[in-house]
């Protein structure tokens, strides 16, 4: 059990971390704001089932006509099925957040080590991996994701995997181009001249120098994964209608837009944009924070 002293030390360490973040100028603030947006959305999604006024799955909670515009009883209006939009917004983020986090994790864990190893080793291994990655890259992302999702069936993990496969080549390419540059730089050679082994050079010299670039790809990946997840739902390969999902609401709401029902599409759209924005801010901020040359 931690003593009071160590607990206090942990606490003061946390405080100094936070103050050092705010002291890092706009990059620090960007990270904090991004993390706040993502944090609030995750919190709302977690608490959704308890704080939403209606059951997000129940249809015809509002009397016809539906969709009805925002009103006192239904602050964000209702959709065609008479479901309460506020409840659906509060509960609908979980699929997207899970898919996005899982797919980025999946890409990172697979794409980065493959890129590091293949391009550092070079030769035949690099050529083969490059060929495979390029052929994946040549497919339109959404089409490939649809094919994989159709093959593997529905489910959060399958969606994350199919999005992940599409994005691995992006990670691989960034990692490869950076490794090829860095392994020829004098500091990598200088490390070799100090007796460092290949593994040390790769993990201690090359990897830290490419992390800022990977952080940028990861953000784009997050934002794109959210949109691809919405796209998969749109073509019916997402999770079923029984689970509230912004992507589903967005794609269904699109059909209602010509009739003037802007609220059905606007609120889930805003949530998706906010979530993507939050991840983008975190990534942009991190890529600057990880680069000591931009330190004030």
């Amino acid at each position: 059990m931690p003593t009071v002293k160590t607990r206090r030390a942990i606490f003061s360490g946390l405080i100094s971390r936070l103050t050092s973040l705010t002291g890092r100028g706009s990059a620090g603030w960007m990270t904090i704001i991004g993390a706040a947006i993502v944090g609030v959305i995750i919190l709302l999604t977690l608490l959704g089932p308890w704080i939403s006024p209606y059951d997000p799955r129940a249809i015809n909670v509002s009397p016809p006509p539906n969709p009805s515009p925002p009103s006192g009883n239904f602050p964000l209006g209702t959709n065609l099925l008479g479901q309460d939009m506020l409840s659906r917004i509060l509960c609908g983020g979980s699929i997207m957040i899970q898919v996005a986090l899982l797919s980025v994790l999946f890409c990172f864990v697979i794409g980065v080590p493959i890129g590091l190893l293949a391009s550092y080793t070079g030769g035949a291994l690099d050529k083969v991996v490059n060929l495979v990655m390029d052929s994946f890259y040549a497919f339109p992302g959404l089409v490939l994701a649809i094919a994989i999702a159709a093959m593997m069936g529905r489910g959060v993990i399958n969606m994350a995997l199919s999005i992940g496969v599409v994005y691995i080549p992006s990670y691989y390419r960034i990692v490869r181009s950076q490794v090829l540059t860095i392994k020829e730089l004098p500091y990598a050679e200088a490390a070799r001249a100090t007796g460092a082994r290949g593994r040390t050079i790769l993990l201690r010299y090359v990897l830290p120098n490419i992390l800022p670039s990977i952080a940028v790809v990861a953000t784009m990946n997050f934002a794109d994964a959210i949109l691809t997840a919405a796209g998969l739902t749109f073509v019916g390969l997402g999770i079923g209608i029984e689970v509230p999902d912004w992507g589903w609401d967005l794609s269904k709401g699109r059909e209602l837009l010509p009739s003037g029902a802007w609220w059905v599409i606007t609120f889930p759209g805003v949530m998706i944009v906010l979530l993507a924005l939050g991840f983008t801010l975190i990534g942009e901020g991190l890529s600057e924070l990880l680069n000591p040359r931009l330190e004030k």
Partner: protein, 325 residues
Amino acid sequence: MTILSPLLEVDSLTVDYQTRRGDIRAVDDVSFTMEKGEMLGLVGESGSGKSTLGLSIMRLVPYPGVIRNGHIKIDGTDITNLAEEKMQSLRGRRITFVFQDPMTSLSPVKKIGDHFTEFILTHEPETGKEEAFERAKCTLSDVGILPERINDYPHQFSGGMRQRIMIALAIVLNPELVIADEPTTALDVIVQAKILDLLKSLRDTYGMARILITHDLSIVLERCDRILVMYAGSLVEYADSRELYANPGHPYTQRLLQSIPNVELTDQRLEAIPGSPPDLLSLPRGCSFFPRCLCAKEKCGLEKPPLVELRPGHFVRCFKENSQP
């Protein structure tokens, strides 16, 4: 009585770069020895093989280079065919290398102290992190960097300071030999003089041998004990620096000495060596310097001159000296 083997012994070393157009002989049959604490100047123009020679001693010849022939011995141990793992423990601990460009020789995302601790712990894992830090601070102050700055990043230092840090990294484990490959080319003259004097003073504090690779004969003349002049991969002259200055044996060395500006003789035109170094893929059949040599005879274009000992310890690869009594 035991005969001490020299610190470094390079014996008829030949290094080739394998290209599609054929092998390029970057180092051709070079032999020399170095004693402990000695400072050797390795002089030659671009492409003369001086950097390749320096890297070969560390067994770091860049791809597609291969050591074709010859031996490199450190303290009597042949390292020419030593296993890579053993070589790794040798590099950095017994021989270190200072690279030409200090601006990119340090990883931009690592603090100076991390470079040191990483390096020290690689070779001496039993050292504590604190102790490694203390040693780094001591070495930094030895090369004229404030020890407090150990937690700064490389971009916070100037070029000259970074080269001092590189030298500190090279000497922190007290190696027997430091090879500095044009350490001052990227720096201006005033910083250059300071860095070179720092390298020279290492013997007094650390007692290590140093090889200074440069294209500038004037900066090694006053600082090095011995000088090795290379031309198109071959060793053309190897002598004590005073001896070389007073009695240059090879026409190339003579012309190099004439092309050093002299501030006292302002009315004299500066001599230059006409022509340019030969293409290493199609070397002249005889002496490599033959096409540019003023004293060339017919024989020079037909066969390669042997290395002859002009005076004790003064070697020259030229027929001109050979024929003299």
